[in-house]
C-alpha cells in the first residue's frame, strides 16, 4: 500500500515536472508578447530644466519603444503619497516595472512595497541596493556624473579670469560633495591655484536661496558657476544676468542662457532604463545594482557653448577620451581635505566604482566652504 502510494506520488511528480518543462517556454513567450507597463514617478515638475526633466526625457524616449506602455506622475512627495502612486500604478495600470526616481522614495517607501509585490520590479535611481539586505525585485541605478563635473571644472579652469569658481549646492551629502570636489579638481588640473567657493542652500529646490547664493558668490568675484540642486534654472539665469559664465547640471540649460553657458553635466538615463527593461522583457533576473559613467553612456556632456576657447575644448576632450578609455581616475593621491587632513596618500587611487566614494564626507583642499 505504502509503496503503491509512493509510486503514484512519483508519477505525479514526474508528470508535473513534464508539464512545467513543456509549458515553461510557452508562458515565457506569452510574457514577452504582453506589453510591459512602466511607471515613472517624479518628485518635482517634469519641465524643471533639471533632475526631473532628465528623467522625463528618457521616459519620452521609452514611449517610442515597441511593447512598452509608460504611465507617469509628477510632483509626488516622498510621503505615503508615493506608496499610493506606486500601488496605483501596479493595481490600476498593471505596471510590471517602476522607476521611482527620487532619492527619498527608496527607504522606507519602495522597501515597504517591494515584498508585497514580488512580481513587480522596482528600479530606484540613486539608492544603494545591498545584497542580502534589500529584496531581489528591487534595484538601484546611478551614474558617475562627477566625471562630467570634472570636465566642467576643466573648462571652467580655462575660462575663469578671477581664478575663483563657484558651486551652489543643495545639501552636504556624499553625492553632492563628490560633484563639488570633482569640479574643483578639474579646474585645478588647469591652474593649481584656483579656488571653488561653495554655498549650501539646505534644500533641493529653493529658488530664492539659490538666487541669493549665486549673487553673493558673484559679489565675491566668482566668474564661473555650476550647481547641484534639483532645478538649475535659477542659478543659470542669475549668473547669466550678472554677466558670469555657467556650467550646467542634470539636463542642458543652454536654452536659458546661450551666451553664458559653457558646457554641462547631463544624465543619460535611457541607457539604464533600457538595460532594466530588456531584462524585464526577457524574463532575466532584475539588475539590482547598475552604475556607469561616460564610458557606459550613463552621463554625457552638453555641447560646448560658443564662448568656450579652443584650448579649453582641446584639454577637456583629451581628458574625456581618457575617461572613455577607462584610464582616468579623478580621486587620486596625494589628496587633502580643506582642513588639512590627508584623504589619500601619494600613489593611492580610488576607482570610480569604489563604494568608498559613495560615502564621501569631506571637501578637498581648494574648496572654500564647510559641511
Amino acid at each position: 500500500m505504502n509503496r503503491k502510494l509512493n509510486r503514484r506520488l512519483a508519477l505525479q511528480t514526474l508528470a508535473s515536472t513534464g508539464a512545467v518543462a513543456s509549458f515553461g517556454p510557452l508562458s515565457l513567450l506569452a510574457h514577452a508578447q504582453k506589453p510591459l507597463t512602466v511607471g515613472v514617478i517624479y518628485v518635482g515638475p517634469r519641465d524643471d530644466y533639471g533632475y526631473n526633466q532628465a528623467h522625463a526625457q528618457a521616459a519620452a524616449e521609452l514611449k517610442k519603444l515597441p511593447g512598452i506602455k509608460v504611465v507617469e506622475e509628477e510632483n509626488v512627495p516622498e510621503t505615503a503619497a508615493v506608496q499610493k502612486t506606486m500601488t496605483g500604478m501596479i493595481a490600476q495600470d498593471g505596471a510590471g516595472l517602476l522607476f521611482p526616481t527620487s532619492f527619498g522614495y527608496f527607504d522606507p517607501h519602495i522597501l515597504a512595497l517591494a515584498p508585497k509585490y514580488p512580481d513587480v520590479r522596482f528600479s530606484h535611481c540613486g539608492g544603494l541596493w545591498t545584497e542580502g539586505k534589500h529584496p531581489k525585485n528591487v534595484g538601484s541605478f546611478f551614474g558617475y556624473i562627477d566625471e562630467c563635473q570634472y570636465l566642467n571644472g576643466v573648462v571652467a579652469g580655462h575660462m575663469s579670469k578671477s581664478r575663483k569658481i563657484g558651486f551652489v549646492a543643495a545639501k552636504p551629502i556624499p553625492q553632492v560633495l563628490r560633484n563639488i570636489n570633482a569640479f574643483l579638481l578639474g579646474a585645478r588640473s588647469v591652474h593649481p591655484d584656483i579656488t571653488c567657493s561653495v554655498i549650501f542652500t539646505g534644500d533641493w529646490s529653493m529658488a530664492v536661496k539659490e538666487a541669493e547664493a549665486t549673487n553673493s558668490l558673484a559679489d565675491q568675484g566668482v566668474d564661473v558657476f555650476t550647481m547641484h540642486v534639483d532645478g538649475p534654472k535659477v542659478v543659470v539665469e542669475t549668473a547669466a544676468k550678472r554677466g558670469k559664465m555657467v556650467c550646467g547640471y542634470h539636463a542642458s540649460q543652454a536654452k536659458l542662457a546661450p551666451a553664458a553657458y559653457l558646457t554641462g553635466a547631463e544624465w543619460n538615463w535611457l541607457t539604464a532604463y533600457k538595460t532594466i527593461i530588456e531584462a524585464a522583457q526577457a524574463g532575466k533576473p532584475h539588475p539590482n545594482f547598475l552604475r556607469g559613467g561616460l564610458k557606459e553612456g550613463y552621463v554625457k556632456m552638453s555641447p560646448y557653448g560658443s564662448s568656450v576657447s579652443e584650448a579649453a575644448k582641446k584639454n577637456a576632450d583629451e581628458v574625456k577620451a581618457k575617461m572613455l578609455a577607462g584610464s582616468f581616475d579623478i580621486f587620486k593621491g596625494p589628496l587633502k581635505d580643506n582642513k588639512g587632513n590627508t584623504i589619500l596618500a601619494a600613489g593611492k587611487v580610488l576607482k570610480q566604482t569604489d563604494l568608498e566614494l559613495e560615502k564621501m564626507n569631506y571637501l578637498v583642499e581648494g574648496v572654500v566652504g564647510s559641511i
Binding site: E72, V76, P77, T79, A80, M89, G104, L128, E358
Partner: protein, 357 residues
Amino acid sequence: MRNALREIALTIGALAAALLVFGALVWLAGVDPFDMAWLLFKGAFGDAFSWQNTLQRAAPLMLTALCVALPAQAGLVVIGGEGALVLGGLACAAAATQWPLPANLAGSVLACVAGALAGALWVMLASALRQYRGINETISSLLLAYVAIGLFKHLVEGPLRDPASLNKPSTLSLPEGLRIGGIAGSDVHWGLVLGVLACGLLGGWLRLTASGFALRVVGGNLRTAQLIGLPATRLVLLACALGGACAGLAGAVEVAAVHTNANASLIAAYGYAGILVSFIARHQPLAIVPVAILFGGFGAAGSLLQRRLGLPDASVLVLQGLTFVFILASEALRQGDPAALWRRLWPTRPALKESSP
C-alpha cells in the same frame, strides 16, 4: 434640519459647478470631459483601493486643520501648523530613539504624546506672544514655522543624525515595536482614527461643554467675554495648545506610521494644506472630516488623472482651486433666504404671502 439640507445642497452645487467649469477647460485642452469625470470619481471613491488612497491622504489633514480651527474658534488666525507638525515628528523620533520606551502600544502612545506636547508648546508660544506682547499671531506663527523647520534640519542633520543615513540625513529609525501599522490589514494607518476621534471630541467639547462655549464667546467677542469674567487669556492659550497638539500628533503619526524616522520628507506642506481645509470647513471640527476626505480624494484622483490622461499635476490644483472658489462663493447664498433672493431677482412675480390674511 432645513439648514443642514441647504448646506449640503450648496456644497454639492458648488462641486457640480466646479466640475462643469473644469470639464470645459479640459475639453478645450482636447480631453473628453466625461472620461475625466469618470476617472475623478474612480480615482477618489471608485473602489476599495481608491478609498484607502483617499482616506490615507486625508488622515494628516484632519489633524493639521484642527491646528487652524481651534485657535480660530478663540478668534486667532494661526497658520503655522507646519512648524508644530515637523517638531512633533522630531520629538516622536527623538523620544523613541533616545529614551528606552517600552516596545509596545504604551511606548507608541508615549512617543506620540511627546510629539503632541512639542506641537502644543510651539503653537502656544505664538499665542503667548500675542497675549502678553501684542505680537500678531498670524505672522508670528508663520515665522515660527520657518524657525521650527530650521531647528528640525539642524537636529536631523546634526546631533540626532543616524551616521548611516548618507544621502538622506535622518534620525535613527524607530524600533519595530513602536511603529504604527495599518487598520485591519489595510494600508490606512491609525492616524485616520486619531484624526476622526480628535475632530469628534473637540467638536463635542466646543458644542456641548461650558468651557467650550466660553472659548467660543472669547472668539466671538473678547470684550463681552472679559466683561462676564471669562479667563480669556487662559482659554486662548488652551485652544492654541490643543490645536498645536493635534498638528504635533500628525507629525508623530507620520513618523511612526510612514517614515519610521524623522527626515526632511516630513516637510510635505500638510500643515499648510490644513489651513485650506479648516477655512473650507468654516473652522468647525466636525465639518473638517468630510472636507479633509474631499481633499484626500482630490489627491487620489489627481494621481489617476495624471497617469491615464497625461494631464499635468497642476490640473488637479486648478480643479481644487475652482472648487474652493465656488464653495466660498456659495457663502453668499447661505446667509440670506433663497426665496427672498429669488423675489428680488424677479420682482414682477407676486409674493405668495400677500394672499394670506
